[in-house]
Symmetry: C2
Subunit: 320 residues, 2 copies
């Protein structure tokens, strides 16, 4: 590495913790740290903590004066305005926060680019991961919720107001759909997130007498279902089959929108690839218009889970 | 008009007829003509007829040597490849036709830009119509079928393969959905096209004894339903309410995809604005994520119906 090579900083702000790293052009994290997100009720002291933490890892990476920009992924981060608002998962995110402006100032004017976490993940996949070289793809993050980042002609789709790509909130069950965290009913997220599959498990267990290892567990999580499926638990296998089928049906409609080269999956639940891939692929090909049958790739993220959030956010900064 | 001003040609190829016009930069049609689409089994003689017709209107408009390009809207026209294929509505469109290349050659090398009819309509609205000045909108054509043209950052979305924007074929009725012309079931087009609303009418008339003027009509068309609604026929009013509600629900999901400034409606069925606007608007706002409630415009095309197809196609040529 030349000592004059330009570097970027990636910041992934989650509800509990904020992960930060100094990253080079090949996607190597040269220094990283984690700070608490939830110990300040307002944004000012959090941003001060964040700036202090960033200065430390920049020094550690001997990167002073070489930081081209800071990319930030955060819930409800708006790319156009650089603000975070209506982010109930962030302790200080309920009010409108001029995040980019404040962080840039605290970092001596280094430019800051902000977007939501799923868009950051899409840029990360495109820059360093499974979508390298792709110009048109849809990133779906299967975590606590279902997020999405849509890439069109090599650029993240932000839309008229900066909030495009809320594919976790398209309708998948039209009649008597399950209530979603967004206040509406039948959203994809209410069924196909880590929380959604656990809700399906509880519903199914209550509605039948089918034996299952899951009956012994008190607060079922997606991890429990994954582990039970690993051990051959029939009900758990059916849960993945159902969840994958709903995802595949939704993806068929997404394809009709933007005709992507691939759908890229990322996030905790996507680690259940061995159980999800086949039902997703089948439902997607069964449901999609003939012209796309068998043509759209289904790709699982290749980024190391622990690094992916930082890399995704950092990748934004290369565009600055 | 200066005699040196550059002009374009618009060609709208439909199943029966092909409309052609010479158009100036303000969207004035200087000369136009119509030829038959369906009287040749192969593309070669059709393209010869078309080129002859275009040369006549170019001469009529005194536009020789001033044609910057020819824009063509045609079913299944592919922007990337300049080809038409799998277009069952075109007598010569079942095989792959190198349309752009053949027409350009027949016209002495004038460049040709081809896309499908809904994308052409979107470019037309953006260049001359209701979407003038908009950078992000979704054009929905409500005709015999339901088509769409999606505009992102001022450009039509073509996707990885050139076929993006098949929003008539997203699923709107998941269980026991009606069979669609595409071979699948439950598509938006099967319910909300001119043919779809007539199918709904026939289903409803068969399933109830509700009195309606429509009972006296043999082969009900969307026009019959419109006229009956004009006269206060309750069932016909309910048909528009139902159709508009399905459209509004679908639009809510489209908004979650691309966060457009507006949804623009065009086509024969869109002329029933007085009956469709309210149910669409209500269902759209009831179904959309909170952040977009009341924020996305619903716009009806302002282009003169008879000119719109030519204008839309011609607008493509300005980008050449």
């Amino acid at each position: 590495m030349q000592e004059t090579e330009k570097l970027v900083v990636g910041v992934d702000a989650g509800g509990q913790t904020t992960k930060c790293g100094v990253v080079d052009a090949r996607g190597t994290i040269l220094a990283q740290t984690v700070i608490r997100t939830d110990n300040h009720p307002t944004a000012e002291p959090f941003i001060k903590d964040l700036a202090d933490a960033l200065k430390l890892i920049i020094a550690e990476a001997k990167a002073e004066g070489r930081i081209r920009g800071i990319g930030v992924g955060a819930p409800n981060g708006n790319y156009y305005t650089g603000t975070i608002e209506n982010a109930p998962n962030l302790a200080w995110g309920r009010e409108r926060v001029e995040f980019s402006k404040m962080l840039s100032k605290a970092m001596g004017g280094i430019p800051v680019s902000l977007t939501n976490d799923a868009n950051a993940a899409a840029v990360g996949e495109m820059t360093y991961g499974a979508a390298k070289g792709m110009k048109n793809f849809i990133m779906i993050t299967l975590g606590t919720g279902v997020g999405s980042g849509i890439v069109i002609d090599g650029k993240v789709l932000y839309g008229h107001d900066g909030f495009a790509g809320e594919l976790g909130h398209v309708n998948i069950i039209r009649n008597n759909g399950r209530l979603c965290g967004c206040g509406r009913a039948g959203c994809l997220e209410a069924y196909c997130s880590a929380i959604g599959i656990a809700r399906t498990a509880r519903e199914w267990l209550a509605a039948s007498d089918e034996p299952s290892r899951l009956r012994d567990i008190e607060n079922i999580t997606s991890k429990d279902i994954f582990e039970a499926a690993q051990e051959g638990d029939e009900l758990s296998l059916k849960l993945f089959d159902y969840t994958g089928t709903l995802l595949g049906r939704a993806f068929a409609d997404f394809i009709a929108f933007s005709a992507p080269e691939a759908i890229v999956l990322f996030g905790g639940l996507a680690r259940a690839r061995k159980f999800l891939e086949e039902p997703i692929r089948k439902a997607m090909d069964d449901s999609v218009l003939n012209l796309w049958k068998g043509k759209v790739k289904l790709v699982f993220s290749s980024l190391k889970e622990s690094d992916a959030a930082i890399l995704g956010a950092s990748a934004l900064a290369w565009e600055l």
